[in-house]
Symmetry: C2
Subunit: 313 residues, 2 copies
């Protein structure tokens, strides 16, 4: 199948693509409309984002399954105390009471992003809000790497997992955004659901080898990522066998050989999340298709220094 999404993410001579990770997490709060709007203003046309659903079935853009103390304030403006509520246990209206405009600098997660601006009154957006923005004519070239978060509490409940995929696909189709959306997950079973339910959208297979630790303050995705026992070089074949079109390895896992193998298999390779200058240099030297980063300006600069660009036009 000739997916129109593929050329948007494929590197070409002179071009390595740039994907804004959760918008531009190094600059503005992640997975917010404010962050996405900024990223688009800087000429970045590929956005990575995470979705899950509320109790009342609204697809919302947020990474963790639980509202997380280090990045969520309550209605009184205080960092969350006590138990961290689960997004899927709240209605969309309840979710709107929380402020996701900044990070707690005292937290390990906050310390990872010391330059992130601190805003007040930001809300977790609906997927529909972002899709509406992208239907504006000036954003017609923007494509999405849409990560569906797999709820570890639902691993044994295939119908509930499938219901989330159906809700996401339905939103994307309603907005006519299928030709500009790639469905992305660590959960390969869920990606099989995506391929069946939405064959018009390529599936993007995230991988992270167990030997490379999770980054501080992230929800772990290991439980659902079937790569234990794999080596870097096994991964592209595993993705191809699952009929994946995108392979998205953790940047510490990729090697020249595994990239060459991915290329031979016709996969698009998007590495994440590449933030340090020396790591960005290594990914440029490897020649990946796309770099997913929290610091789009930094990657733009380094690409330009190599005579490369992140867009073909």
């Amino acid at each position: 199948m000739a997916f129109p999404q593929i050329p948007a993410f494929a590197g070409t001579p002179g071009v390595i693509r740039l994907v804004g990770h959760r918008g531009a997490r190094g600059v503005l709060p992640e997975n917010t409309m404010e962050g996405f709007e900024f990223t688009l203003k800087t000429g970045v046309e590929l956005l990575e984002l995470d979705v899950t659903a509320t109790r009342d079935g609204v697809v919302v853009i947020t990474h963790n399954h639980h509202l997380t103390r280090s990045m969520v304030r309550d209605a009184d403006g205080h960092w969350l105390q006590g138990a961290e509520p689960k997004v899927s246990a709240l209605s969309y209206a309840e979710l709107q009471r929380y402020d996701v405009g900044g990070l707690d600098g005292a937290s390990a997660y906050g310390r990872r992003f010391p330059d992130q601006a601190f805003l007040t009154g930001l809300r977790i957006p609906r997927l529909a809000d972002l899709l509406a923005l992208l239907q504006q004519p000036q954003h017609q070239n923007v494509h999405l790497l849409l990560e569906i978060k797999s709820d570890p509490d639902l691993l044994e409940a295939p119908p509930a997992r499938q219901a989330l995929v159906e809700a996401v696909v339905s939103e994307v189709r309603q907005a006519g955004m299928q030709p500009r959306t790639v469905l992305h997950s660590f959960d390969w079973d869920l990606l099989a659901d995506c391929q069946r339910i939405a064959p018009e959208m390529p599936a993007s297979f995230l991988t992270q080898l167990p030997e490379n630790a999770d980054e501080v303050g992230e929800d772990s995705s290991k439980a659902v990522n079937p790569v234990a026992g794999c080596t870097a070089l096994d991964l592209p074949d595993r993705v191809a066998a699952a009929k994946g079109r995108f392979w998205c390895p953790y940047y510490l896992d990729i090697t020249p050989d595994s990239l060459a193998r991915a290329r031979a298999l016709g996969l698009i390779t998007v590495v994440w999340t590449v933030n340090e200058p020396e790591d960005i240099e290594r990914m440029i030297a490897l020649g990946v298709d796309a770099i997913c980063t929290d610091y789009p300006g930094r990657v733009q600069r380094q690409l330009l220094m190599h005579g490369l660009h992140w867009r073909t036009t």
Copy 2:
């Protein structure tokens, strides 16, 4: 005179003010509407900017007297070659041919801001463009530290220098922005003109001691800054003697004693340009009124970690 601008820049218990330097130069191209809009979105209410005039008398927002190779592209998208045209020798229409959307990473100036986003098609704005933005109701609390650039070629031409002050003041008055504007310069003679022509706006005296070198890639302002032979501790008295209300020292020059002296004299002290975490910490510990920075998010984070804020509301 009770200037309404003063409380907007004055520190209070729990508050150190944050001034976005040329917008947010660490994040987006300096002195552009895009940079100012971003800075305002992050909840920063004090903007520093630089103005000069075109050949046809349009007041424009730009720092250097000459279009500078490291940050200006020509109509074909190439970094400037050959002689760098002088802004005052170009008409506003001619100026609009140049693109100020990014830095050349190969230049010393570009290397200072490795995270700055690279945009295409950005133009040098008119002062009138920014003033119009700030008249929108959501920006009613925004105040300007408006630096008038003193043309070294006009040091012996007082009428031409005065004409620039008059043009700037006229624009500010036309927009009704006098109560929210502070006139700022390294050129103390020009500030005397400001005080005479626009007594409703406080004058802000920039200082930089000769022993602390210019930062790389900046137009030097030393020629017009009458502080040779001064010590840090002399500076506040010099400013007060010139009837300045704001003292804006280079951050390496300020000492606890000179800040105490400034406070005793009733001056507002705004330090510039403070970007490194350890320097930001030192300015917070000193307890200046305001910190002018290229990285507003970074200063926000460090203020919050000290239980401080940059706004009273």
